[in-house]
């Protein structure tokens, strides 16, 4: 009975979550796909929008898709690592400026980012002149930029999580003669897989949907990410004409995220309890 209540509740929330998405699906299937269609059920079902999207000369969707996944995977992996290092130091070590540093990490994220675009141009104009491989129109420059945000909310998330891992574990290891590096890699990391997985997913989604910087950074149609490319599809006066394709693209965008989630899910829900008990 109790279990049934849980199912009912979750189903209601799922309905809320999926309601607008059904609308997008309907628009994607609707041959006259439009943002203004009033119907949840499409007036006809066809995969035209999808095929148009995948065969479009104007919108190299497959390239965008690949670019996005590549950038998101690489950047989120690198920033996860940086973030984890910092979280470990913030949680396990006591040093001057620790609380201030934590607060600063939080506050720095609150400044409106788009004002910073002027400075980003300033920095990368020089970088483009000196090191073209990391300049504008390169994926690597954009990734460097993304690493600037590696320390931030995610560091907080992991730090909070690390705080809940009993400290006796690393103390025991220290007594056994392990170095801090060994403790980090052999003791801590295996224990925190759930939150690592959650953070990885969050970082992945964050990079996938990043728009502001990617818009000014990648200007070749071929080098765009999904977020930027798709924005272009409905920007200006092409909004209506492309909405069906756009809806199809929106749905496809969810595919990598859901895949990453499926891959990480087992770490999210299984890892810790067993690990903690064993430790």
């Amino acid at each position: 009975m109790k279990l049934a209540l849980r199912h009912v509740f979750v189903l209601v929330v799922c309905a809320f979550a999926l309601f607008p998405i059904l609308f997008v699906i309907s628009a994607a299937l609707n041959p006259l796909g439009t943002l203004a269609s009033t119907d949840l059920l499409p007036s006809g079902a066809s995969l035209n929008n999808l095929t148009n999207l995948l065969t479009s000369d104007t919108y190299p969707f497959a390239r965008w898709f690949f670019n996005s996944v590549f950038i998101a995977l690489t950047a989120s992996f690198a920033s996860l690592l940086l973030s984890m290092f910092a979280a470990y130091a913030f949680s396990r070590m006591r040093f001057a400026g620790r609380r201030v540093g934590l607060l600063a990490l939080l506050l720095i994220q609150m400044f409106p980012q788009f004002l910073a675009i002027v400075t980003i141009f300033m920095i990368f104009t020089r970088v483009t002149e000196l090191y073209p491989a990391f300049g504008f129109d390169t994926v690597w420059g954009l990734m460097l930029l993304y690493l600037g945000g590696a320390l931030g909310v995610n560091t907080w998330l992991m730090k909070g999580f690390l705080d809940t891992v009993p400290k006796e574990l690393d103390e025991a290891a220290t007594v056994d003669g392990a170095t801090h590096a060994q403790i980090f890699w052999r003791v801590i990391m295996p224990l925190v897989t759930p939150i690592l997985a959650v953070t990885a997913l969050l970082a992945f989604i964050g990079t996938m949907s990043e728009f502001l910087m990617a818009n000014v950074f990648l200007r070749d149609p071929e080098s765009k990410t999904l977020a930027v490319g798709m924005y272009g599809m409905i920007a200006g006066d092409h909004r209506n004409a492309n909405f069906g394709m756009f809806a199809a693209a929106t749905l496809l965008t969810a595919v990598p995220t859901v895949s990453v989630f499926l891959w990480l899910q087992k770490y999210i829900v299984s890892g810790l309890t067993a690990g903690a008990v064993k430790g």
Binding site: L35, F121, T125, T128, E129, R219, P221, K224
Partner: protein, 427 residues
């Protein structure tokens, strides 16, 4: 672990040094680039010679590419067409200022005032012959402070598009449009009287012909006939009367103007037969044609005993960036290549907007009579004011429009709009 940490640290060093350079670079902007180009590490791309960079918005990139390549082949240079999806004008200004902007920028002519005050674009010299090849309104639009600041390539304005099955004859006045629309709605043949986007925030662009026909105006004019930013007329008695007219057409009146009709749905509703009249521009035609409706394009008619219903005219323009690295190439492209009939015609084929070049328009006429009809509807239109002050108008005007459409008091709305505009212009 160390290895990874180190790799990261290495990258970090690089990033750090890069920042330091950025800081430096602004201190001596002129010395740096030329010195850099002699350095061994700098790619030839940085020299600017032999390379032309064009920035456009996504819908134009594909259309431009073949011509850019052709120009490149003819002149033995490489041409890159880059795409910016959002905030094009501001991105162009920021990038230009910092030295990583393009050589040529494509945008609407009403950017000119702002681009000029930022020293971002150069005047373009067109020969008398070249100027004569454009309709006067296109040249007027790209002229700012007595100088021509770009080569026009497409002219856009709204017109009245009507479903000829429901309304076979073009209405002579706008009053007839509303009457006929109401009649059809009553008969259940359509759901809406008129498809003209109002939205919750107002849309000054689409409603302007009606506003003008009812006697309203935005600016007074200077001695030379240009809009005068010192004389904002949104709250003038004539404009208040015009807002009153919009109120009569609004939700509490005829129901011809509605906030629920938005830029997302107005074209689609017409295409789906939900309204017999659509006020829109050439960009609507793809959808309208796809729907298979029989339609006709005529100028937006004036109110009975009203002034002419002049639409805003926007001219898509190629600009030469002041801080571009290949200015001679950019001038060559803009002044002598864009003004070529074949190029204009081909640009039209790739992306059908009425070409600005008269000769190209005539060529197009055979296959697409709409282009000429739109051009005709806009020939007496008002080029969108290119003065930077225009940016202060759009929003307060739109809000006043929404207020009266929802049944608000015209006097109050117009006066508040005028006050808001005056307040921001005095800053």
């Amino acid at each position: 672990m160390r290895m990874r940490a180190l790799g990261v640290a290495a990258l970090a060093t690089l990033a750090f040094s890069a920042t330091a350079c950025g800081d430096n670079g602004t201190a001596q902007p002129s010395a740096a680039p030329s010195a850099a180009s002699s350095g061994p590490a700098s790619a030839p791309a940085d020299k600017g010679n032999g390379k032309l960079v064009i920035w456009a918005d996504p819908s134009r990139v594909t259309a431009l590419k073949p011509f850019a390549d052709q120009f490149g082949t003819e002149n033995g240079v490489t041409v890159e067409v880059k795409e910016i999806s959002k905030d094009n004008q501001q991105t162009f200004l920021t990038a230009s200022q910092q030295g990583s902007g393009p050589d040529i920028m494509i945008g609407a002519h009403d950017w000119i005032g702002n681009l000029v005050q930022n020293g971002a674009i150069d005047p373009v010299t067109l020969t008398e012959e070249q100027k004569a090849a454009f309709p006067p309104i296109a040249i007027k639009a790209v002229t700012f402070d007595g100088q021509i600041y770009g080569a026009p390539y497409a002219v856009e304005n709204v017109a009245l598009i009507r479903n000829t099955k429901l309304v076979p004859d073009a209405p002579a006045t706008f009053d007839e449009v509303v009457e006929k629309g109401k009649e059809l709605k009553k008969a259940g043949k359509v759901k809406e009287v008129l498809c003209l986007p109002v939205t919750q925030k107002g849309d000054a662009y689409h409603v302007y012909p009606l506003f003008a026909s009812a006697g309203g105006s935005l600016f007074g004019s200077t001695a030379s006939g240009d809009p005068d930013p010192k004389k904002v007329l949104v709250g003038s008695p004539e404009s208040i009367k015009a807002f009153g007219k919009l109120k009569d057409l609004g939700e509490k009146g005829d129901g011809a103007l509605k906030t629920s009709i938005t830029n997302e749905n107005y074209i689609v509703n017409f295409a789906a037969g939900k309204c017999a009249f659509l006020v829109s521009g050439p960009w609507a035609m793809a959808d309208v044609k796809k729907s298979g409706l029989s339609y006709d394009v005529t100028p937006v008619p004036a109110f009975k005993d009203g002034k002419p219903a002049t639409p805003f005219v926007g001219v898509q323009t190629f600009f030469v960036a002041s801080k571009g690295k290949s200015k001679a190439l950019a001038q060559e492209f803009v002044a002598n290549y864009v003004t070529n009939k074949d190029v204009a015609k081909a640009l039209y084929d790739a992306d059908p907007r009425p070409p600005a070049l008269t000769a190209a328009l005539q060529d197009v006429q055979a296959s697409d009579p709409d282009a000429v009809k739109f051009m005709d509807a806009g020939k007496d239109g008002l080029p969108m004011p290119a003065i930077p002050e225009m940016q202060a108008i759009w929003e307060p005007f739109g809000i006043a429009e929404t207020a009266v459409v929802k049944g608000g008091d015209a006097d109050k709305a117009a006066t508040a709009g005028q006050k808001a505009i005056d307040g921001s212009l005095k800053n």
